[in-house]
Symmetry: C2
């Protein structure tokens, strides 16, 4: 039996499959993150949003949850600025525009951009991932 007729069944199942207990906080955050279009959030942003949606969660739990979701492959971390991390609900192969003035991240589909002639990595290493950040300004 799955949970198709229980409330929030989609996110509930997502958490179950990730091996994470469906707690009130995780369910609420998962709804904010996964029931809408793909998004890029900082911990602070998500905390503000959760609070605004009447979900009581501490900032520590926001960090725990974002790191757990990332560890479970439900999200990924994008590093564009020193001192702040963005978390991305889009886990498909893609890249980013980073608006340096507003701090906004925008997806570039994986097939809309591509790297050619990636040189061989040093002996004994393998390529884990290629990140392309197109930095833009007004």
């Amino acid at each position: 039996m799955n949970s198709s007729n229980r409330p929030f069944s989609q996110v509930h199942d997502i958490l179950r499959k990730a091996g994470l207990r469906p707690t009130r906080q995780r369910l609420g955050l998962a709804r904010l993150l996964f029931e809408n279009d793909d998004r890029h959030v900082t911990a602070e942003q998500l905390h503000t949003e959760a609070t605004g949606a009447n979900l009581r969660v501490s900032l520590a739990t926001i960090y725990n949850t974002l790191n757990q979701f990332t560890g479970a492959g439900l999200m990924r971390e994008v590093v564009v600025e020193p001192g702040r991390s963005y978390f991305d609900t889009n886990t498909t192969d893609h890249h980013h525009f980073f608006h340096e003035d507003t701090g906004r991240l925008l997806d570039i589909p994986g097939d809309a951009i591509s790297v050619s002639k990636v040189p061989e990595p040093p002996t004994g290493t393998h390529v884990e991932r290629v990140d392309i950040i197109v930095r833009i300004r007004e």
Copy 2:
């Protein structure tokens, strides 16, 4: 008259051209940074290295200097990890291998890799720079 017969004349001139007073600290750091091959350093690394070379400099001055050198176009900042900044003495157009296990950065010459079909940036914005990070592991 230039300073071609004064000690450390090369870095001395670099600082002068950048409009930075050639102080003992800046001269010492410039020698470590520019008299060898291109390099990637964190503030803490450079501080340790300076101290080991008998150059007395505070960590605050290391940060000031790296930021001033970067502002003057003598270096650039590379963001690969949350919570730590790397500074690069190679200011030519190029990209990086980032070794996730060791924290080392390796240059990929600009002509050894290239992006194709970079999509148009959103209306009202222009591309400032494209950063490619090839993340590698053992």
